[in-house]
């Protein structure tokens, strides 16, 4: 009786349990990504160099087709993402066509471009077609092309693209693609570069295999070590081709006008420099430098109020043929000898880094896998002068210096070079993601003091005036009280404006005394000393200086023998 009762109770409870516990509970979830489904891509890309904003393929609108607010200006209400263009709903430079637009035979039909602006309109929209082939991927460059069949001034040019990475993973693959047009009667001859083009280093030395690439043709991809380069495109005459930028150009020379330089048109100043971006080419990257005609050359109308008008010109852009790799493994190191009277052989993990260096000489950069190394400096006989641990992070660019310390002992200093043009603006509090500014024409100088008789020095520009970081604010860290052998770690670069004139003077400062006593026996550096190759400039005058990343080091054992040397870090 008692047991039965118990059994009933237990059974009853179990029944309630089973009856009530079966409800399935679902989490509340949401997914606000624009495109939540995988979108397989074809191998075919469109490179839109003609500033088209809208795209339709096979009758399907891929962009938002929103009219600009004011001509060429898209405000917040005209920015409507599509799943193909999730950021703005408009075409950018490159677009990989999704697989869904490729038909059974590999064709991509009815590619239509348009721009809803009126100012520099595109030719009437017309159909293009492309062919997708995974074994031979192509880029379709949409460009303005002259001369052209029919009356069209646009063209879709198919260019075979390499998607295979360089054979050496520390290298990059790069080519020059010349899609330049011929000028017409409206072209500004001073601005318009034409004909065969060559790719050159920053100092104008052409890169072998990249010379005289005729319009309509591309060089083969060549490999070179990864690094930060200011690659320049030269026309046959040796004049530089303008990189795509917003600089106002001198009508006569095609050079950029900015704040410093000789008085030019409309209150602007001629820099005699042609814009070419300084860019880090990432290891394993595949790049195409393409020259094409654009309506993006801004020239003064001559009106003293500074009015400008856009004109056409062949300018170049850097296109990444594969998505740019993230460098998580390589770093580069160079070494300098700033020990007077000693020749130095640098060794990394007992392997030589460059050849033996005499005083003030530097090695080329060598690429290393990140990690911890032993950096050693030996003399001619192989005796170790100094040794230090070298810790390398991905993307590091390190210059190793051997200098005599105050006691005369050879010592290694390591300085890390920022080759990105990006700098921390100091505004970040809790969120640092938005506190990075970019200098598009970096003219940066880092100062080092290796004169063992001087505990610290201060570098100034003309007349002892301090270097400015931003207008009104002195680059205190970068230029003042530079300690012997100690690289500055915070805001280490003096960031000069493009083409800024001014010498570099050096002062023996002391703590609390700025700038201190001028070391008049040390020849000041002129800004033109920073120009590597004056013959590059086919301009009426030389520019004041060249953009790039420099280190100015005060070297020499004794103050009397001391001098300043310039190390340029980018090629």
């Amino acid at each position: 009786m008692q047991k039965m009762k118990t059994t009933y109770i237990v059974m009853g409870l179990l029944a309630v349990l089973t009856a009530t516990s079966c409800k399935k509970k679902l989490d509340f979830q949401y997914d606000n990504r624009v495109n939540t489904e995988p979108m397989p891509l074809s191998s075919t890309r469109i490179i839109n160099l003609a500033s088209a904003t809208q795209l339709s393929i096979n009758g399907k609108k891929l962009t938002s087709y929103m009219l600009p607010d004011i001509d060429g200006y898209y405000g917040p209400d005209q920015t409507r993402p599509t799943i193909y263009f999730p950021e703005t709903g408009r075409m950018g430079i490159t677009f990989t066509i999704p697989q869904e637009f490729v038909n059974a035979t590999g064709g991509i039909d009815s590619i239509r471009f348009s721009s809803l602006g009126n100012k520099i309109g595109l030719p009437d929209s017309r159909k293009f077609s492309a062919k997708d082939n995974f074994n031979d991927p192509h880029d379709y460059y949409y460009i303005r092309l002259r001369p052209n069949i029919g009356t069209y001034q646009d063209s879709l040019v198919a260019v075979s693209r390499s998607v295979s990475p360089p054979s050496n993973p520390t290298n990059i693959k790069i080519r020059l693609l010349n899609l330049s047009s011929e000028p017409n009667g409206l072209s500004q001859p001073g601005v318009f570069r034409k004909g065969p083009m060559s790719l050159a280093w920053a100092n104008g030395t052409t890169i072998s295999g990249m010379e005289n690439i005729a319009p309509g043709s591309a060089s083969a991809y060549i490999e070179m070590p990864y690094g930060t380069y200011q690659l320049k495109v030269l026309e046959a005459s040796g004049k530089e081709v303008q990189g795509n930028s917003s600089f106002v150009l001198n009508i006569a020379t095609g050079t950029a006008m900015d704040y410093y330089g000789d008085i030019g048109v409309g209150g602007r100043k001629d820099t005699w420099l042609t814009y070419a971006p300084v860019k880090t080419f990432q290891p394993g990257g595949v790049y195409t430098i393409v020259v094409s005609m654009n309506y993006d050359c801004s020239i003064p109308t001559g009106n003293p109020n500074g009015e400008t008008v856009n004109t056409e010109g062949n300018t170049f852009r850097i296109i990444s043929d594969i998505s740019e790799p993230v460098n998580v493994i390589y770093s580069r190191v160079q070494a300098v000898n700033v020990t007077q009277g000693t020749d130095v052989q640098w060794l990394v993990n007992d392997k030589p880094l460059g050849n033996a260096l005499s005083f003030t000489q530097q090695t080329d950069y060598k690429t290393f896998v990140t990690g911890v190394y032993t950096l050693k400096a030996t003399d001619k006989s192989g005796a170790t002068l100094a040794q230090q641990e070298l810790r390398l992070q991905p993307g590091d660019n390190i210059t190793a210096w051997l200098y005599p310390a105050k006691d005369g002992k050879a010592t290694i200093a390591l300085s890390s070079n920022n080759m990105s043009g990006k700098f921390f603006n100091g505004n970040a509090g809790e969120e640092g993601s938005y506190s990075m500014y970019k200098d598009n024409t970096p003219t940066w100088t880092r100062f080092m003091n290796f004169c063992s008789e001087l505990d610290e020095v201060t570098f100034t520009t003309d007349d002892g005036q301090p270097f400015l970081a931003t207008p009104g604010s002195v680059a205190v860290n970068a230029s003042q009280h530079i300690q012997l052998g100690k690289p500055v770690t915070q805001d280490p670069n003096v960031q000069l404006m493009l083409n800024m004139p001014g010498k570099v003077l050096v002062y023996a400062s002391r703590p609390g005394i700025t700038p201190g006593d001028w070391l008049s026996q040390i020849t000041p550096l002129k800004s033109t000393d920073f120009i590597a190759n004056p013959s590059l400039y086919k301009t009426p005058q030389l520019p004041n200086r060249e953009p790039g990343y420099y280190t100015v080091a005060l070297v020499g054992k004794k103050v009397g023998e001391a001098r300043m040397i310039i190390i340029k870090h980018n090629k």
Binding site: Q2, K422, G432, S433
Partner: protein
Amino acid sequence: MQKELLLGCRHKRQSMQQYVLKLLLLLIVVMPVTRICAQQPGSKVVSVQFKEEDILTCLKKVEAASGQNIYYQPSELKPITKKYSAVFTEKPLRTVLATLLQGTGFEWQEVNNKIVIRKKERAAEKENLATEENKPWFIKGKITDEKNKPMSGVSVNVKGNKNGIVSGDDGSFIIKATSANPVLVFSHTGYGKKEYPVTDSSELSVTMLPGEVSLGEVTVSVKKRLNTESAVLIERKNSAIISDAISAQQIERTASITTTQALQRVSGVTVTDDKYVAIRGLGDRSVIGQLNGIRLASSDPDRSTIPLDLIPASLLDNITIYKSITPDKPADAAAGIVELKTKSIPAKQTFVFSAQTGMNTRAGNMVNSFYNSDMGFFGNKVKEKGLTPEFQALSAQYPGGLKDIQRKIADSRNDPAMLAEANRINNIMHTFDPVLTTRYKTAPLNQNYSVTYGDNFTVFKKHQVGLILGGNYYSRTNDIYEGTLTQYSVYQGVLTGNENVYSPRVIPNYITPNNINLGKYLNYKENTGTQTLNYGLLGGLTYRFNAQHEISFQYLGSRGAETRASNLYGAYEYTGIPGTVKNVIYSLRQSYRTLNTFNLQGEHKFLKGIYTPRLSYNLATSSSSQDDPDYRFANLADYRPNGGGAYTSPAEVPNTTGGYVGTAHLYSLVSGYVNGYGPYGIIQADPNGRRFRKLKEDNYNYKADVSVPFKLLGQKQEFKTGVNYLHRKRSFAENVLYLPGSNYSPNKALPIYEANGNLDKLVGYDRIGIRPQSGYNDEGAPRIGGFLYNIQKSPNNYKGYYETRAFYGMMDLRLTEALRLTGGVRFEMTDIQAAVDTSNVYLDASITTTDASGNKVNLVYTEPNSVYKTNYSPFYSANLTYTLNKEMNFRLGYNNSLARPELRELTNVFDFDPFQFALIVGNPKLKNQKTTSYDFRWEWFPANGEVIAVSVFYKEIDNQLTKVFKQNSKGLDAKFPEFPAIEFQNDPNTGRVYGIELEVVKNLGTLWEPLNNFFLGSNLLLAQSEIKKTAERLASSRAIDRRSPSNSPLFEQAPYSVNLYLNYANKKSGTDITTTFNMVGERLIQINLDGTPDLYSRPNPVLDIVFTQQLFKRVQLKGFAKNILDKPIEEVYANPGTGGMFYGKKYVRRSFNRGTELMIGLTYSW
């Protein structure tokens, strides 16, 4: 020596030490004396003379001369015909007995300080024929009280055995014995303990005598045993003041796991949120929680609450609620005292183990939880989630704040040491779980274990040591799935604190004072999962030197951990902008609480007999802590404009503007302002963030009472005096870690777009700490610090203490046999001081940063230190009890009392509490509240375990400390969400509470025979409270509703509460089933100051069934089903007394089902 006895208390207060020292000296003096007093019966010296008398007469003489009870069966001794003549002068009792029994075939034995005479043969047989002797046999009997009425509920034990029974309603009992000459032990609260040697199988007739008899026995039992209902009723009956109580028996019958659950069954008690206790409508500060006479520390940073839910009910003997107070009780118990008595020491060895398991039907096997929410079996994993010392050290290392760290990260390529430091900080920032959302998880079954062990021993021959050890563990899961939560308002619009997700406030034009409607403002579904675990340990040690001197020590420790994961999702209802505005809220909370109480009590009677002066003292320290590590809260508004929208991306090049990026969603982490506070009259209130809070409170409570009884008017009178010292020391530390995308950050919602509104991604490892390499891929580029959590303390850290000292004198006078007057005066002083930590705290960078022109705002703390001191002031109380007959009392009570502001309420900090959605502010101007109470009660105890009582009470409250919701609203001009401030104020209006309590506890069998096994209990409270609304509150309630009443009920005061229980106990079948019903009337739970009516909780009927079934001799099956009706719990916008309506419509703010909780398990007792 001193220090040890003070239980490690390092509290340096001169006066206290002296005080304790005196007590200890007293102890040392008293101890040796007590040893001398104890004597064995056989050694007692007697002088007696026999003249040709038979043995029975002789023995009576010896009894009379020695005062020693001698047990024997006269029928056995009758056959002895021997006559005795002898003179004994100052001879030991044993000599006398030896002479008497010589050659009779009888012998005497000392049995537990009693002398028993029995046959010699039996003793010999016992040795020889042990097997036969141990054959069980049954002893029958009947127990009556001093008036010859049958006594039920008397516990009957065979001495030396662990099992016992309880006498039935007619006083009869049957108990099994295994030995030939068992000694039965009868005990009943309020009565003496009686030992009765059984020599034959005839039916026994036992008479129990009340009162002091028990004092003559040397058996350790901690005072009275009050663990049964009838025992607590007797205690109530004999008490000088109005009290209600619930016993362990009732706790078990209601299957209460926590003390708060048990308390809900007491008349006049209401419990909110399973935590906050109110007596007769007065809550918080007016209710004092005491554990064994010692005040419990609060573990809630913002409220003065007693951590009752931390104390497992199974470790308690009883809970008594004193509703009228006497001078020996703290004067700040305006509403009453909740006195928890832990398990007392048993008279015999006991061991009870029970294990139960079950589930909540709404939780099922799924509970809303979150990643890494595992608390561990003992909750230790919660504790480990607190801020690491490394993180806390950062604020000292980087006094400049996060700016310094960001720079260090940016520069970290330039120096290996900086790199190492940046990486170290990155690792610290990555220690926080990258999760802000909740997920359903498999829920473990509910578990409940408890074990109790008790015994008493004799040491040093005469001294008694009692020991009790108890442990309890439970883990429970609740889950609300798809509850609804709707915010109604007269206003419409979308205020989120971000201009991108904004629609101005309007009052729709169909809402007029003649046509009052509320519109849905926000409408949510709610998923809330709660997992609770708790365990406690009780240890009690009593050392009894003799009947007069006893000291005891108790430890109660408990630990509790809770995980609460809440998810609300819904939308703003009337946006007035094209597109929908969805809203999702996540709240992830874990807490870990501890309570340690050490308690040393002593009770000393200086003389024998009932007119002895008594000293009792109690030295206690307790410490409690509450740790809320990583309480995460995120409230995301997601506006989906028709056709999409755009946000501005930041500029990369100096002095340029960024571009526009299109988006289908515009986001805002909802945040707002509180107007009217802080140095600038406005305080930012960002509920979003990760909060780390730590509260620690140390409590030192010392008290001593001396009572001196004397005889006057032929009655026993008593004078009592004593002192009480209480010192509570508290420290509160808080860190608030804001989230990326806060509206108060310079880039506002920008990070949320990058995470596509995904809150987990928002705090993912790629956004927190150093950004991944892809963010600074260029050669030598400065590394980018992503989002870093705020390293500085919040400005809400404070330390303080709360000290009261008191002394009193009172008389307990029995004017006549029937009339008893208890009263006196108590003097109390108050000293509350708090200091806000103003050093190195986080202040909003946008205010404190030096701007371009070198201006800097210096934030000045207004009064960081609060001091409130009062001198000793008198509090009077008088209680008059008229006992008509033994069964009936009439009581009148009067007392005045005070309530003190809580430390937090005085402390001048502004702390936004996302849980209450309000800014909690301190008010240093607070002063004590004064309450005058009048009580009347009629009690009738018709039979054992039965009571019928009616009480009427009236309270007048001056300077009432009231919780005030303040909202200086900009009304229709509001551009940001406005949160109210919660402040405590002394109400200038006098508050009044009056009510009536009815209580009936009845054995239904006495009414109708077939209901013999049924017991009915019920209590009902009807109370009316009223307070005049303040001018601003009235103005805002009448902004729209011009007929809004000018008076309001008191906060959380219910107009009625009803408890009913029906118990069926069938001793034959071993079945015990209790059905309880509980319902509490509507209560005001939130005061709205924006024109919207106030919020009330609706009555919710709760029906529970608890059953016990004896399965085997020592095994019981226990189980319960709680909240069987599972009616939705509702909160409504309403006017009071309208049945939850507002102008004929029901506006339900929140509705959810709590679920039925089922448990089943086994209990083994031995």
